[in-house]
């Protein structure tokens, strides 16, 4: 039970990072982006590529950091991957979403995002194979936190959690303390009014993808580090991430953070009562529950 909560918190941090980017994009561009979770796959796989590259170029970087299975090469690869994923998010927006946005309604965007997700996921399968992969073949033993009740945690999980919280804090500072953050929030609230006040909407949209892509990349690597890397990361995480945004209220960044943790913990606790085969259905149950009790989420507001 307590182990379930612990694991849930760790998964929750990953979902939160994904949900922040998704909720920001949904708020500003007004469409449910079903391809957002594929950014996590892109992040995980580009980190895998750069990890191999750095290890080959600078062999000493292959050393693990302290008790983690994380190497110096992989930590550098994470940073590069965040950039690369942000760039892919912008590229997809330029190639597809911007054109569809100009042509049609919000729901065409949802259709397009499904198509994009299908293409991205299967191009990754085709390039890297359908098999699962790991960043490190070394076995890292879990640390026993307590004997009774037995609580186990892997050092990598602690790292992922702390780093995720640090990233969220940094984002909070940017959004609440800088002019750029104000501009971003203003553009999401009311694009027309923001433009009247001299905010460049195109640049804000780019920024949304940079933030969303960067956070998603880190979440993807963290998922790969604590589970495994596979082309279906996006397929498996898309519904939990949506559930997190709905729990938090679409458009609310802080709601997305909280929603991620709630969905992570609830999904892990549900496994106590439900057989594990049903776990893909749990996010849907959470969504239904939220819609019944508080349709606009914890921090959301009604908007047509």
């Amino acid at each position: 039970m307590i182990q379930g909560v612990l694991d849930g918190v760790l998964v929750g941090a990953i979902l939160s990072l994904g949900a922040i980017g998704l909720t920001m994009a949904m708020h500003m561009l007004r469409f449910a982006n079903f391809s957002h979770a594929e950014l996590l796959s892109i992040g995980a796989y580009s980190a895998l590529v750069f990890d191999g590259l750095f290890e080959a170029l600078v062999p000493p970087m292959a050393a693990a950091i302290g008790p983690l299975s994380l190497t110096w090469a992989l930590s550098a690869a994470i940073l590069v991957s965040m950039g690369a994923t942000a760039a892919s998010a912008i590229l997809v927006d330029r190639l597809v979403f911007r054109r569809v946005r100009a042509l049609g309604g919000e729901l065409s965007m949802v259709f397009a995002s499904f198509g994009v997700a299908l293409v991205l996921r299967n191009v990754i399968s085709l390039s890297f194979g359908l098999k699962t992969q790991l960043y490190s073949q070394d076995i890292v033993f879990a640390v026993i936190l307590s004997q009774d009740p037995l609580l186990l945690v892997k050092p990598d999980q602690i790292f992922a959690l702390i780093a995720a919280l640090a990233i969220m804090f940094a984002l909070h500072v940017v959004l609440s303390r800088t002019t750029l953050g104000y501009a971003l929030r203003a553009a999401a609230e009311n694009p027309t009014l923001a433009q009247v006040n001299g905010i460049n909407l195109g640049r804000m949209i780019t920024l949304i993808w940079v933030i969303g892509g960067g956070l998603a990349a880190f979440a993807g690597v963290a998922y790969g580090l604590t589970n495994q890397i596979s082309p279906v990361i996006g397929r498996d995480l898309v519904l939990p991430i949506f559930a997190a945004t709905i729990v938090g209220g679409i458009g609310s960044v802080y709601g997305a953070v909280l929603g991620g943790f709630i969905v992570g913990i609830a999904a892990n606790l549900a496994l106590v009562v439900l057989p594990s085969g049903y776990s893909p259905a749990v996010p849907f149950l959470i969504i239904i529950l939220v819609l019944l009790i508080r349709p606009n989420g914890l921090f959301g507001e009604a908007r047509a």
Binding site: M26, F31, A32, F34, V96, R99, V100, L103, G104, G105, E106, L107, S108, V110, F111, A112, F114, G115, V116, A117, L118, V119, R121, N122, V123, S125, L126, L130, V238, L239, F242, A243, I246, I250, P275, G277, Y278, S279, P280, A281, P283, F284, L285, I287, I288, L291, L292, P295, N296, A302, R303, A304
Partner: protein, 323 residues
Amino acid sequence: MIGVVSYLVFFATVAAILAIAVLGLNLQWGNTGLFNGGVVAFFGAGGYGTLILGGTAQPDHLGGFGAPFALALAGGCIVAGVLAWIVGVLTLKLRHDYLAIATFGVAVAFESVMRNAEWLAGGAKGVRGFERPLRAALGDGFTYNLLFLGLVLVLGLAVYLFLERLIRSPFGRLLRAIREDEIAARSLGKAPDRVRLTAFVAGSVIMGLSGGLYASFYAFMSPQDVLPILTFQIWAMLIVGGAGNNGGAILGAFLIWGGWTASGWALSRFAPIEAQLYTGTVQFILIGLLIVGMLMWRPQGLLPERLVVSQTGKINEENLGRK
């Protein structure tokens, strides 16, 4: 020769069954602007419902009601309609994202329940023990398949005529009014939420009919028949054919199903052995590119919606275009 004809009959049956689902989606998306991200759930509910109601008793899962075929099929449609009603009531009052996410979720949940709940529908092994209607009299051969195709075509035609009448009726105009401008419709005293719910449930019942026919045709249904890719295929059919045009929906169904079957055959015939594992992957990429490409370059589809003006007068061309 008889081989080719019998294959064509088989192909036409499956394509026509899928065309019925596309017609259902057209009512939701094409006419009302409702995004259904979980077509397979309603298709599957109809299929599983029909098999369980019409099947013989099974030791390890629900069944044994032995309902006559027509009753079982109607029951399957009702199961699909009830599922749609539950999802619709919860989401249709909220912003449109919620319906997209909830319907996507219901499909994921449906597949996971069908895969795991052995007591309900046999789990991964699927539902067995369904006797195809009139099989005792007609056997399993070519004649049977031909008659089944006839049944599918008759039901498909009935759905088509029903929808054509519906969209020309005042109710059809109301659907389009809500799609184009909900606030204007509300200001005229209409209740958009209720109308949308009606259209959503009706569309899902039609998808349930399609699922019921599909399941009866194979006399079998398993979680493999309700994979998310079927939703994408059915969308591609509607988008390619032309959202808002029932004729387009049918054309799209035959084109996409033909393309899907042909690409699968070509890949298995000509691709190297080691690449065979990736046949599905390549087909998924093709379907994804098709959906994105159509939305970017020809969002109205091959047969665009015919915009009807009920009261002629001076028409501003710009106002006729869809938002």
